[in-house]
Symmetry: C2
Subunit: 317 residues, 2 copies
């Protein structure tokens, strides 16, 4: 497998990216070939310093960097020699099988939407985030920010994509799917939730368990939790804030440690034909290692083919 | 002041309501006159048992109870001798100055909307909830569930009402107001947030500080946090779930104790001409005591007059 990695993306790049590669290699010696995209003058010495064997990687020099706060569309257009623009170019041409970056999220999304086709029938790609459940299980919340305004059909499709992801990537067998809402009964909610419920109920691809409320997000009511990107983004950022809060308050309970997104393996864009994995800006080496594993698992598991099958099943009825 | 209290509302009524009255009396011996609405056969012996002096209260017998899960409109229509229906009747007629209940929230809202007029110019009443800030301060989030779908003008009005409440009831001088959103810059967000931002910016009654994100909800970015009732209800219920979660995990840090809504003093309906205070179903005696104090403070502070002034100021500009 040929995995492309943006070496310049994220607050701690390129050092943590290099450390992440080292960690990946110690965990899995027969590795994919890595295409490391970034400033060769910075990246090459670090790779040597950390003893990364040169036969497992190819450096792809990129003279520009899209900074974290640049305007995505503008930056991608103007910085064609940036690591992100180059990565998408290589992915589109098939020179790499997957592309990973912890850089500017907006640029990663715009790049994905403009250069990688959606899976047939998918109206809008989406992104999800894992949610650490109190029980030790892993939940998945979708959408967490690309689609601030959604239509019911979009939420229904996100449910199919996310449930498929949960099954094959998070290894949750027949994951339960809940609609995040403000009451338990069918008929509750804002107009969007009211109109989405019957679609989810009829969706043959998923194991829909009904509405879930805010109090159910951290417990085992539903593995996959569906909402629009406005609600999901606010919930995710609130949950993310619990880890630094716990640290400031000297609360050392391991549960809050699981909200530490420095070590999580990024989130793939769901609904597109090739694996694109977006890391958190604060990704550390564990996160970079995990993102490479996520990309490999997406390729090995045939996830994108499964998603097509699940989308077909969604429409049966 | 004549305060009406539903003795039958809430999971621990009437006992915790009676204990709450006892606590209120020990804290403030020169008390309001209380109209205690409920089943006289149950309430009277408990009042005696807890030594509540009979000159400070009048029992108003109500033969029916609206249970927590009954359909609000239907229950209010069919149970005209319920404590909630009687309370609203007395409030509308001026027999009591304020009405408090920890009973069926939906019935309390429907009762308010149908029997108590809105303040002139208010399009929709709203409810808020306090949010314990990490710093020790108290934040206020609005709307937390009455208005699942909102228009920009509604959110702008909620901001004025909630900021006024924060100033006179929570004693926060010139409270900062933030719009809960998915990015910091103006122009970010779903269509509702995008359209609401300029209204808040122009609102002369409030101290608008811009967008706040999920990660800012528990810190001191804004005292008053504005969102639609769908988002607010989900956020509130997620926050409420942190206290029982901390208890289950034996996390004894006092911050999570502040999320214990058993002791919070309920939430008033904002935007109506008379004080109506809705308690949490799990209200304990502290909550009942606090709700009586909230009702008194609303009356003493002339909050409703202040709200009219602030609403006028909102429209200047």
């Amino acid at each position: 497998m040929k995995i492309g990695l943006d070496m310049m993306g994220g607050d701690y790049a390129p050092l943590e990216a290099v450390k992440g590669i080292a960690a990946y290699l110690s965990a899995q010696p027969s590795a994919s070939h890595l295409f490391l995209i970034g400033d060769e003058n910075k990246v090459a010495p670090l790779l040597q310093e950390h003893g990364i064997p040169s036969n497992i990687y190819t450096i792809v020099h990129a003279s520009q960097i899209i900074e974290m706060n640049e305007h995505p569309t503008k930056a991608l257009k103007e910085k064609q020699d940036s690591s992100i623009a180059k990565g998408f170019g290589m992915l589109a041409k098939g020179l790499i099988d997957a592309f990973i970056s912890a850089g500017n999220t907006g640029a990663m999304l715009v790049g994905t939407i403009f250069s990688i086709k959606t899976i047939e029938g998918v109206s809008r790609p989406t992104i999800s985030s894992i949610v650490p459940k109190e029980s030790g299980r892993t939940g998945l919340i979708v959408d967490v920010g690309i689609n601030a305004d959604c239509k019911p059909e979009m939420l229904n499709q996100f449910a199919t994509l996310a449930a498929c992801y949960a099954q094959y990537m998070l290894d949750i067998e027949n994951p339960t799917v809940g609609l995040i809402n403000i009451g338990e009964e069918e008929g509750k909610g804002n107009l969007l939730a009211q109109a989405t419920y019957p679609l989810l109920k009829e969706n043959k691809a998923i194991n829909f368990v009904g509405n879930i409320e805010g109090r159910d997000i951290l417990i085992d009511k539903a593995d996959v939790m569906i909402c629009d990107g406005f609600t999901g983004n606010i919930l995710l950022k609130l949950l993310e804030s619990l880890h630094p809060l716990a640290q400031r308050q000297n609360i050392t309970h391991p549960y809050f440690g699981r909200f530490n997104f420095e070590s999580h393996g990024g989130t793939p864009v769901l609904g597109v034909q090739k694996p694109v994995i977006i890391g958190h800006g604060i990704s550390g080496h564990e996160a970079f290692m995990n993102m490479i594993f996520v990309a490999e698992k997406m390729l090995k598991s045939g996830l994108l083919e499964k998603m097509k099958e699940w989308l077909d099943k969604e429409k049966e009825g």
